[in-house]
């Protein structure tokens, strides 16, 4: 490589890489920050202001007389407009027409002899000649600067209320066998295609290369038809996990065979031959020598297939169906985009529940992923 010279060009390179990295990480970072922010703050300020104190126009509804104190025919109700956290009130009001009419610590006179005052720290006092019980709680409008607040509430609420926990299990259920099964059967095929001589071998290899690029879309309708008629004939639910596992197996096989064959052909011929001279059968050579030696290729494919099955939407949607109890994480996320379109606290936390596993796998096993990528792209 050309050594980077200490010149304006050198730091131009540093700068452009920094811009690259920034552009590629900022969108994800934004959503990650958002997923930990308080939902009221998300709605009124950008995530890049998350650490700054934000000024917000808020509304608080006083309780309907609970905790009121009566003295000398006078009723007072006290409390704090900040239900959680702390902030500083800079103005308040009692109607939506003039939400900032009064400065803190002054007293506002409401209709019906009611008076209201709000202190800077949010403490309010409502007093009236009649009891507050049985009336709607008085609305208090206030402008406050609220300190940044970070919380796990968004995650807790999506895992419990939005069915993300269930979908997480579903995704696991889909992804793990869909990764394991193709490896089992592809390894044998790859061995046959690299170390056994038989008529039609090169045709089969060409076929595997061709099938690598067959679009999934081709298979959906015919397979759905088969599943439906098989389900009718034998009386089982056509939308089952077994159906998805087998479908992922079929779709993953070309890459599995291709990757493993490429790797196995590169193994030294002498090892096989000396084993054969010692009387080992093909089956023994495969299980005792080739399989252990192929571990890096097996790991590469396993990562690919796991990422692909975990992140897949189409196969799960078609072969598992859109029912609530069978939705995988990606399907759930699409549903939430439709039904909770503007609720970014829900969407952000849900997205990160679904992203966490593959990103962890990615960073932990990047070496194998890169290796597989380099071997897998048709040269």
């Amino acid at each position: 490589m050309i050594p980077a010279t200490r010149s304006p060009l050198a730091w131009a390179v540093h700068l452009s890489v920094a811009i690259f990295v920034l552009l590629w990480t900022l969108p994800t970072a934004g959503l990650l920050v958002t997923s930990f922010r308080d939902k009221d703050q998300i709605a009124v300020s950008g995530w890049w202001t998350a650490l700054a104190t934000s000024s917000q126009n808020l509304v608080f509804r006083a309780p309907e007389g609970e905790g009121e104190a009566a003295a000398e025919g006078h009723f007072t109700l006290t409390g704090n407009v900040f239900e959680a956290g702390v902030g500083t009130v800079s103005a308040f009001g009692f109607s939506s027409k003039a939400p900032t009419a009064f400065a803190p610590d002054t007293t506002a006179d409401l209709p019906g002899g009611v008076s209201l005052s709000v202190a800077e720290d949010g403490a309010f006092t409502l007093s009236a000649p009649e009891s507050f019980k049985g009336k709607r709680g008085q609305r208090i409008f206030y402008t406050a600067s609220v300190a940044p607040r970070f919380t796990f509430d968004n995650y807790l609420s999506v895992l419990r209320a939005e069915g993300l926990g269930r979908s997480f299990l579903n995704s696991m259920t889909v992804a793990v066998p869909s990764t394991a099964i193709p490896i089992l059967i592809a390894a044998f095929a790859a061995y046959a295609l690299s170390w056994m001589q038989f008529p039609g071998r090169s045709l089969l290899i060409a076929m595997v290369v061709g099938l690598l690029v067959v679009p999934l879309q081709m298979s959906l309708i015919p397979l759905l038809t088969i599943y439906n008629s098989a389900g009718q004939a034998f009386g089982f639910d056509p939308k089952s996990y077994i159906g998805v596992w087998l479908a992922h197996t079929g779709f993953g096989l070309p890459l599995a065979i291709y990757l493993l064959r490429n790797y196995m052909t590169g193994l030294p011929r002498e090892i096989m031959e000396s084993a054969r001279v010692d009387g080992a059968t093909d089956f023994q050579i495969f299980t005792r020598i080739v399989l252990p030696l192929s571990f890096p290729a097996l790991a590469s494919f396993a990562i690919f297939q796991f990422l692909w099955t975990w992140n897949d939407l189409l196969v799960a949607l078609v072969f598992l169906g859109p029912q609530d109890d069978k939705l995988v994480l990606t399907g759930r996320l699409v549903n939430l985009l439709g039904s909770r379109g503007g609720d970014w606290e829900i969407l952000a936390a849900s997205a990160f529940v679904s992203i966490a596993v593959p990103v962890f796998v990615f960073f932990a096993l990047q070496k194998y992923l890169v290796r597989g990528l380099l071997a897998g792209s048709v040269k």
Binding site: I2, F20, F188, A206, A348, S377, K379
Partner: protein
């Protein structure tokens, strides 16, 4: 929880079944055609016969799965594309005639071509740029990891991430989407980016480019490192500058790899479905073939004939790349 146990049980069962099939069938073969026969001629005949049968025992399950899940569907889709919505009645070319007259199809086709023009080119170019730049600096590997990371994120997850970037609030209120915040702070009006016909295509493409650039970078970076040092040293001695070296010496030597990256991304683009479904579901003139096909599969009880016809169109677009790949692979096998 219970289904997870079922899944684990299935894995164990699968391993047992595979062991039983591969081990068992090989054992049977060795019993039926023993390598040590009664006579020498007998043994050599047995060995030859066993060698003829054994590859198919190894290949059997794979061929069965490939045949059922990939080869048969291609034929069946072709057959279905000449039949009506239920797949019962032969309708000749009616589906194809409908297709080319349908405005939804023409819109999707146009958008798909736009995607095919922009995404592979942009992702490959940016990947090449990132590879060339990160190879020269000390923290290049960290930078590579971060640019590569979107590869691990699902298309749907990436859509959520970018939908937040494109988020739109009415003019005057605080913009919480990054793009609109930048636009308004520069003094322009905020826009509902993904609802702008025609231009929204590009905003959706950004998502796929964002994902695929890392893939292009990793492969091209390896190719750049494989370039023989001598060619570069010779160019340096001849007085070429960095940009000249890059475009006239290095890029021409990795054309093959660039073509591989380009075609791989092209295939991904043809199949893109999740991004469009999650971002717009084809509204505001942003539909693409794969999403249109999904639509027809299930819309109004499903029209399998028309769905299959759209799938065939996608397949036809893939075939040139498929042939090119097969030819390359065969040339490589022969070259070994």
């Amino acid at each position: 929880m219970q289904q997870l146990w079922t899944a684990l049980f299935t894995i164990v069962l699968g391993i047992l079944c595979a062991g039983l099939w591969f081990g068992g069938s090989n054992w049977c073969l060795d019993r039926i055609l023993p390598a040590r026969g009664r006579t020498g001629a007998h043994s050599s005949r047995n060995i030859a016969l066993a060698a003829l049968v054994r590859p198919w025992l190894f290949l059997g399950p794979s061929i069965l799965a490939l045949g059922l899940y990939l080869v048969y569907p291609v034929i069946a889709s072709l057959w279905l594309s000449f039949h009506d919505k239920s797949g019962q009645r032969f309708v000749g070319f009616a589906n194809y005639r409908w297709l080319f007259g349908d405005s939804g199809f023409r819109e999707s086709m146009g958008n798909n071509f736009l995607w095919l023009l922009v995404v592979p080119a942009a992702a490959t170019f940016l990947g090449l740029l990132a590879a060339a730049l990160t190879d020269r600096i000390a923290w290049g590997n960290l930078a590579k990891s971060l640019i590569f990371m979107p590869m691990a994120i699902s298309f749907v997850g990436a859509s959520v991430i970018w939908k937040f970037v494109y988020d739109y609030r009415a003019e005057g209120s605080e913009q919480i989407g990054l793009l609109n915040a930048l636009v308004t702070s520069a003094g322009f009006e905020p826009q509902a980016w993904i609802a702008l016909p025609f231009w929204n295509n590009f905003f959706l493409m950004v998502i796929l480019i964002w994902i695929q650039t890392g893939f292009a970078m990793v492969i091209l970076s390896a190719a750049l490192r494989g370039i023989p040092e001598e060619t570069i040293e010779a160019a340096v001695l001849d007085g070429a500058n960095g940009i000249q070296i890059f475009f006239s010496i290095m890029v021409p030597q990795i054309w093959g790899t660039i073509a591989v990256v380009w075609t791989t991304i092209t295939i991904t683009v043809l199949k893109v479905f999740d991004i469009v479904l999650a971002m717009t579901n084809g509204q505001w003139n942003s539909n693409v073939l794969a999403n249109l096909m999904f639509d027809w599969m299930f819309r109004g009880g499903g029209d399998f004939g028309r769905g299959a016809t759209i799938a065939i169109v996608i397949m036809v677009l893939v075939i040139p790349i498929m042939i090119w790949n097969i030819r390359n692979a065969r040339a490589e096998v022969r070259g070994r």
